[in-house]
């Protein structure tokens, strides 16, 4: 790809419906090499590398009809060992109570830089889990999971989207381990300032057409929530009903997606923020007309980028098919590295991985014929 020079090799951690893969880049513009599948046949919802030590990885797995679990690697993904106590809901306390069963772990987030070994996970049904030992044992975060409002906020284990209601987008304020945001689908955005002991909805300004009261405190459907690492008071979200941005001090979401082209709309799933420029963000819109085909609008896949906090959006599609490209990109399947210039990567439900090493200007297909891609993360690992 033109313009990309002196880039450190990036490894993409590709989670698919039939296994995990490591897709290794070379510099400056060499080919990408795909690893053998990891746990071929297992549904892998997320593979995440720990930036605090660069060698630990966690993987959220669901194998056929077996129960969900988490695998850990401490050698850059070469070998994997199962967590000795993966996330699980507490047993029902009385005969009349129906206990909750974890369907799968969906999201993984390394904890705050000041808390090595701490990880958070989100699941279906929507619950928050914490590990204090590098992902080996997990406990539910009672302040959220046992909150008296939990079923009201998230629909609990009783409803949700066809793929299952999920908790995802766990965002930790780099200034404080106590300050965490998360999102649930359905439910919306929630915030704690006491490391998970208490939570409050953070959804003012979101208008959800499907709710009886469109501007309700909760019940919204956040597809992806991102906090900007250099300005942690700036939040972006791709919502079921548009693209929103919040300056935390103002406490109200503003629908910046209204500036998207009318024939594209502002509905989609993934959301990526530029790690160095708080005003730059990327989305991958989908067709949300009529029956919501969830494919690229008009069969012409494109990333849209803003450099002014959502006031204007520019189409970036060089390299993508010009027609008959019906990509679907799931909420965890688009991400960036931290290189300069920035690399951006996305995986499609029909098993392709695409990448741009020049901040989205040009795109190239990096891998094909994989199973449905569920998540893509970028890491810089030793060669």
């Amino acid at each position: 790809m033109p313009g990309s020079t002196d880039l450190s090799p990036v490894t993409l951690l590709v989670a698919t419906r039939k296994g995990g893969f490591l897709l290794r880049g070379s510099q400056p513009d060499g080919p990408w090499s795909l690893s053998d599948p990891i746990f071929l046949g297992a549904t892998i919802n997320h593979i995440v590398s720990d930036p605090r030590d660069s060698k630990t990885m966690l993987m959220a797995a669901l194998t056929g009809h077996l129960g969900p679990t988490i695998f850990r690697s401490t050698d850059y993904g070469q070998t994997w060992k199962e967590a000795s106590r993966p996330p699980a809901f507490p047993p029902a306390s009385g005969e009349d109570e129906k206990g909750i069963v974890l369907r799968f772990t969906f999201w993984l987030t390394p904890g705050h830089a000041s808390e090595p070994g701490v990880w958070y996970a989100g699941s279906c049904p929507p619950a928050l889990w914490r590990s204090e030992d590098g992902g080996d044992t997990w406990e539910g975060v009672a302040g959220f999971n046992q909150n008296p409002m939990w079923r009201e906020w998230t629909m609990g284990d009783e409803g949700g989207t066809p793929g299952g209601p999920t908790l995802h987008s766990i965002q930790i304020d780099p200034r404080s381990a106590n300050h965490i945001y998360l999102a649930t689908s359905p439910g919306g955005v929630f915030e704690t300032t006491d490391r998970g002991a208490t939570w409050q909805p953070l959804n003012k300004g979101i208008l959800s057409f499907f709710l009886p009261v469109p501007e309700a405190d909760y019940g919204h459907c956040t597809h992806a929530l991102r906090l900007h690492p250099q300005n942690p008071d700036l939040l972006y979200q791709q919502n079921h009903c548009g693209i929103y941005r919040m300056v935390r001090q103002e406490g109200r979401w503003e629908r910046v997606g209204k500036a998207m082209p009318e024939d594209i709309g502002d509905i989609g799933f993934p959301m990526v923020v530029h790690p160095r420029n708080p005003q730059t963000a990327y989305v991958f819109p989908m067709d949300a007309t009529d029956v919501w085909s969830r494919t690229s609008p008009g069969g012409r896949p494109a990333v849209f980028r803003t450099d002014d906090g959502g006031q204007t959006w520019a189409r970036q599609d060089a390299g993508f098919p010009r027609e008959h490209g019906y990509f679907t990109v799931k909420r965890q399947a688009m991400n960036s590295d931290r290189q300069d210039p920035l690399g951006i990567y996305l995986g499609t439900t029909d098993g392709q991985v695409w990448g741009s090493r020049d901040e989205g200007r040009t795109w190239a297909k990096l891998a094909d014929y994989l199973p449905e891609v569920l998540a893509v993360e970028a890491a810089v690992l030793p060669q």
Partner: protein, 85 residues
Amino acid sequence: MKIIIPSQLLSYTRRVEVQVEGGTLAEVLASLDRQFPGLRFRIIDEQNEIRPHIRIFVNQETARSLEFTLRPEDEIRIIGAISGG
């Protein structure tokens, strides 16, 4: 007693037949999990229910509860993915 392990769980046991002890299915699965940590949770959920699509046969009979009583000569067979497809 003997327990037959399905292919989906061979990553834990590395063999098809495992010897276990116990007077109930709950005790046998506890024994199995002591030998192969983590295996039980893959087939029994946190509410002590056999997971959907997992079947456990004792000889010719389907065991539907962990309270199922066992005799030393019984043969247990775990089957993964009986769900019609």
